[in-house]
């Protein structure tokens, strides 16, 4: 096969043994690489009853088939394991340079099994792969770790690591790479920490040979021109994702005060425009990326002074509006701190906002918090708790297990303020203002998640794309974000496409929003890059297969329809304010439609026998 590293590293942390295994081309034909490949390996190897933080869990880090290619935004890798936050399928993705570098070193994936008793890091220099002592790195933050590794080896190394949060088994800790890139969701930093893997450093001096070198650049020029000409690209360069604050406020989809409402009075203070005005230093890109959504910002003075990669819309919402916090400098700094300690800002802000609501309702008191004032919008508290969570100090230790576990521990009715699905905090899309997002949060394999489906086609007038991707008959309902009709069909289609995109290593920007590249473009690229012959339809079927396999994985850990639910607040209480006031999420209706198009049983929510047979999947 062309365009890949060619081998997978199997690293047994218990025995300290490293094995190189060629990628299994038969598996690639059924699952591609990246998310799909990991889905299959982990499905085959992680039995029911596995402890997510025990030796038997397996942590996979994989690149996609096109990671390291010249396709726009081909920078991504995926990490997966049984999640310690949700106790079900855990998966997370990041861009950067780590994935491409791994490929240049000759590898497509790294699988970590077992656990070491002492901290180690994996160092890769082309064919030389070794586990090295990391005792000098343990306790260091992500930036320090990157600095030390690149000083000890050389500065061309790319690093992936955990910070203190992962070491301390914070259940929403991230795996970081290239300093400020985060595989944040699902708490997989804790899995890395439980295995005592501090970091992976890699330098590759190899090359990727492509299947059709003659036409390659010509075809890439066509893709580049399309991406650059897309009307979304200039805005992405200018704002990254930060201007979503304004856009979401506008439709009432900006989670505020722990998702009590979807509008926030202080939105202008934390907006993309506000960031550009005073704090933006530069837009940065990852490997092969034409859109440069990465933000590099600086706060020059005061208690929140820093400079570095920050923020992303999700943090503006989670550490901002969701906590009632309009202090922008604290949000930028909070994001930076979360990177430094290695934590998911969505679950971090989601957990703190749960505590703030419980405090506001008088259910949490200074006695619980050790005297910390949890009033809405208390920026100082948010920053203080960020550190305390990462280090598991005081009340931070309670919050470090996520809001669902914290509420279970505290009790007293605080459970009803937990805004999670399958114990993972819902991201920055108030679903009463966009119904498809409510459904997507519920069906995502990794628990509450906007990215597994990333159903954005009803967000901003993509009628043309809906017509192309689905057919005219679904308009206007499908394009109406408040109408639950056809959202099951839309979410299903988006999931199939998005897991396929995660399996080839591309970004959701450019594929889903803006919806510039679709199945046929990817099929063509797999042909000229990898020499693989897939049709668009086959790629769609692979996506469907992966989603079903993720569902079977979750079924093994007890998931059924009863777990596909949203907090009552979102399905029963009408949105109180703003442009989407009066709305609830009509979840049951959408879910029924979704199971129907998925070929899943309405009662159990699990794949029907004929569905599995059609997709060539075995069932237990």
């Amino acid at each position: 096969m062309f365009g890949v590293g060619g081998e997978i590293l199997w690293v047994d942390m218990t025995k300290g043994k490293i094995e190189k295994v060629p990628i299994d081309e038969e598996l690639v034909n059924k699952y591609l690489l990246g998310a799909g490949y990991l889905s299959k390996i982990l499905y085959d190897m992680i039995p029911a009853g596995t402890d997510p933080l025990g030796k038997k869990n397996i942590l996979g880090i994989a690149t996609g088939l096109l990671t390291g290619s010249m396709f726009p935004q081909a920078s991504r890798h995926v990490v997966a394991a049984l999640s310690p936050l949700t106790d079900v399928w855990g998966e997370s993705h990041a861009a950067g340079f780590f994935g491409a570098e791994l490929k240049f070193a000759g590898y497509d994936a790294i699988m970590f099994t077992g656990a070491s008793s002492d901290p180690l890091y994996l160092n890769i220099e082309d064919s030389k792969v070794e586990l090295l002592d990391a005792s000098h790195l343990w306790g260091k933050d992500v930036f320090e770790t990157d600095d030390i590794l690149r000083k000890d080896h050389d500065r061309q190394f790319r690093t992936l690591s955990i910070g203190q949060a992962g070491e301390n088994l914070v259940r929403f800790s991230a795996i970081m790479n290239d300093r400020d890139r985060a595989s944040a969701r699902s708490g997989l930093g804790a899995v890395m920490g439980s295995k005592k893997i501090k970091a992976v450093s890699v330098k590759g001096t190899g090359k990727l040979e492509v299947a059709d070198p003659k036409n390659y650049l010509k075809q890439m020029d066509i893709f580049y021109e399309r991406m650059m000409a897309n009307p979304f690209t200039p805005g992405r360069v200018k704002y990254g994702t930060t201007s979503l604050v304004e856009m979401m406020q506008h439709i009432g989809r900006l989670p505020s005060y722990n998702m009590k409402q979807g509008v926030f009075d202080g939105y202008e203070k934390i907006s993309g425009e506000a960031i550009n005005e005073k704090y933006l230093v530069k837009a940065r890109a990852d490997f092969s990326c034409l859109q440069r959504c990465g933000r590099y910002t600086a706060v020059r003075k005061g208690p929140y002074a820093f400079e570095g990669g920050s923020p992303e819309f999700e943090t503006q919402s989670s550490m901002g509006s969701r906590c009632g916090n309009d202090n922008l400098e604290s949000i930028l700094f909070g994001h930076h701190l979360a990177n430094q300690y290695g934590m998911d800002t969505i679950s971090l802000g989601g957990t703190i906002s749960w505590a703030m609501e419980a405090w506001d309702e008088g259910l949490l008191t200074a006695e619980d918090t050790g005297g910390i004032d949890l009033s809405w919008g208390n920026a100082e508290t948010i920053i203080k708790l960020t550190k305390m969570i990462a280090l598991r100090e005081g009340f931070g230790d309670v919050l470090a297990d996520g809001s669902a576990a914290a509420a279970e521990r505290i009790g007293r009715g605080t459970e009803k303020f937990v805004m999670t699905v399958k114990k993972q905090e819902i991201a920055g899309q108030e679903p009463r203002a966009q119904k498809s997002m409510g459904l997507a949060a519920v069906t995502a394999a990794r628990g509450a998640d906007h990215l597994y489906a990333f159903p954005v086609l009803d967000e901003a007038g993509f009628d043309k794309e809906i017509k192309e991707r689905f057919g005219e008959q679904y308009l206007p309902e499908m394009a109406d974000r408040l109408n639950p009709k056809y959202k099951g069909i839309m979410v299903k289609e988006c999931e199939d496409f998005m897991v396929m995109v995660e399996s080839v290593g591309l970004c959701k920007y450019g594929t889903q929003i803006p919806p510039e590249f679709y199945y046929d473009d990817i099929a063509l690229t797999l042909k000229i890059h990898n020499g693989l012959n897939f049709t668009g339809n086959q790629l769609q079927e692979i996506g469907e297969r992966i989603v079903n396999l993720n569902r079977l994985f979750n079924a093994r850990f007890g998931v059924t329809r009863k777990d596909d639910c949203l907090p009552d607040r979102l399905t029963k209480e009408k949105a109180p304010l703003g442009p989407s006031a009066g709305e609830v999420v009509e979840l049951d209706q959408m879910l029924t439609e979704y199971y129907d198009v998925r070929g899943w049983d309405q009662e159990t929510g699990l794949p029907l026998k004929e569905t599995l047979e059609r997709l060539g999947l075995d069932y237990e």
Binding site: M70, R179, K207, V210, P213, R284, S288, R292, G308
Partner: protein, 163 residues
Amino acid sequence: MTELKFVFGDPDICSGCMVCVNVCSMFYSKVIGPTRSRVRVVRLEPALDFALFCRNCEDAPCIEACPEGALSRTSKGIVIVNNKKCNGTGACVEACPYNAIHIHPDTGKAIKCIQCGQCIDRCPADAIFMTTTAELAERDKDGRMMALHEKHKKELYPKEAKN
């Protein structure tokens, strides 16, 4: 005298995407791989991304250094490698003050930027441009770009062991 042209990048604008690196290795070597490219991209904190090319030195120490006489300047002022003569000793690599000439791992011959402009056309950030020393001084009036290159030269032009 012909104006000596070279490609130069603005480290405040360059996003670090490595598109230029990939374009060059694909255009000349038909592969993707930074070690097969005639341009390097180096990311430094805070917020700097340097795309680094042959500076087309007037005194061209690389030409001087080559014991085989494989390097020469064309009538257009471009320093080129004669592959028939180059035997990969790497004296040029040692001599270049800008770490801008390397031995290609596959061919064993020296490669360097020959100012063809392929990457310039495709840079999504418009961060690189063809220039001369005089034009650059004009464009960079306040000396910002040059100062950044100068300030970080230790990290940008490390002396490497030859391949």
